[in-house]
């Protein structure tokens, strides 16, 4: 692994620049959709305190999104048009489980644990990154994400043990969140992940990050007797059904063409209030 650091994207080798751009875009997209769904759950939570927590997590995600979009803009020349406003739906690289509304509270809890959890593991992999613009802000994100994971674990344990109905709902929601999240994480053998490792963009092997995520959620699921589709072999957790990554598209981190619900983008883009959008001063 390289010990060279890169003060800007201009200094990155060409193959590495594309890999970093794709990864940051995928993290930003996932955070944008997480922020939307957490925000939606400001209303309808099973407890008043839970709505405050959901709203707070939404604010965190949108705060992180601002940092990521600023980085993508200054380092890679992206604009609000290319990032959000005029981007085709099939180019968003969010975890597919976020494409649709999270209908049940169990869906929220599963996304909070599995998808936000996976994202946080990747963020920890970016700590001390050789790409300095990212290394400068990622510690703050990881610190704030600790509260998200505490919330996720607290609710996961609560729903797992309340009654058979909440347990069944949690199991179904967990499987619905876990596998699209694993698809988004991709194959550790992919050239993009190897490039990120080689240039020290991430501080360890991608496989190590992926495995630490699986071991963490595997242990929590086992502890609560929730069957999420993971099994333990040789001391490590892995999916019971392997994912076919042969058609995995690294630009959207999906195995098959799909796209988020247009209605969600309508809200994220602020389309309803388009006439109030202020132009940028030159």
């Amino acid at each position: 692994m390289s010990t060279t650091t890169f003060s800007s994207a201009k200094n990155l080798p060409d193959d590495c620049r594309d890999a970093v751009h794709s990864l940051l875009l995928a993290i930003a997209d996932t955070k944008m959709f997480l922020g939307f769904h957490y925000g939606e759950w400001t209303f309808g939570t099973p407890a008043l305190e839970a709505c405050i927590a959901a709203c707070s997590m939404s604010q965190d995600e949108f705060g992180h999104l601002r940092l990521l979009h600023a980085c993508l803009s200054t380092q890679f020349g992206d604009s609000q048009d290319t990032l959000l406003e005029k981007r085709p739906l099939n180019e968003f690289a969010n975890v597919a489980a976020l494409d649709r509304p999270l209908v049940k509270w169990a869906d929220f809890v599963a996304i909070n644990l599995f998808t936000d959890g996976a994202l946080t593991v990747i963020l920890t992999g970016l700590q001390r990154s050789s790409f300095e613009p990212v290394a400068n802000f990622v510690d703050k994100m990881v610190e704030e994400e600790k509260h998200h994971l505490r919330n996720a674990q607290g609710w996961f344990r609560t729903l797992a043990t309340y009654n058979s109905e909440t347990k069944a709902a949690l199991e179904a929601a967990s499987r619905g969140a876990l596998f699209p999240t694993l698809e988004w994480l991709g194959s550790s053998d992919h050239a993009m992940m190897k490039t990120l490792e080689t240039y020290g963009i991430i501080n360890t092997a991608w496989e190590s990050l992926r495995q630490s995520f699986l071991d963490w959620v595997g242990a929590i699921s086992q502890e609560q007797k929730i069957a999420v589709g993971l099994e333990q072999k040789n001391g490590h957790w892995g999916p019971t059904v392997s994912i076919d990554f042969s058609k995995w598209n690294p630009s959207v981190r999906r195995c098959a063409p799909a796209q988020p619900d247009e209605k969600i983008l309508y809200h994220l883009r602020g389309s309803k209030n388009a006439i109030f959008k202020l132009g940028e001063h030159s």
């Binding site: 305190e49 405050i52 927590a53 709203c55 509260h147 505490r150 674990q153 607290g154 344990r157 609560t158």
Partner: protein, 71 residues
Amino acid sequence: MTSQRIYEVFARKTHEEPIMHVGSVNAPNDDLAKVYAWTAYDEEKWVEMCVIRRNEIIPVLNPDNQPIWGN
């Protein structure tokens, strides 16, 4: 599932000042109590915050047996 408990929240803004009671939250377990305290009482830049289950507080002087901190 455990039922909802009341947790009292304590915090301080600097290491020099004493820790003080800032409010309470209802939560089914300690993990969620910590999250709820952090998100509900985020109006200050706290340097320290903790929660304690209300039913584990031992009153020293409370002759009317009233809730000590309300709700």
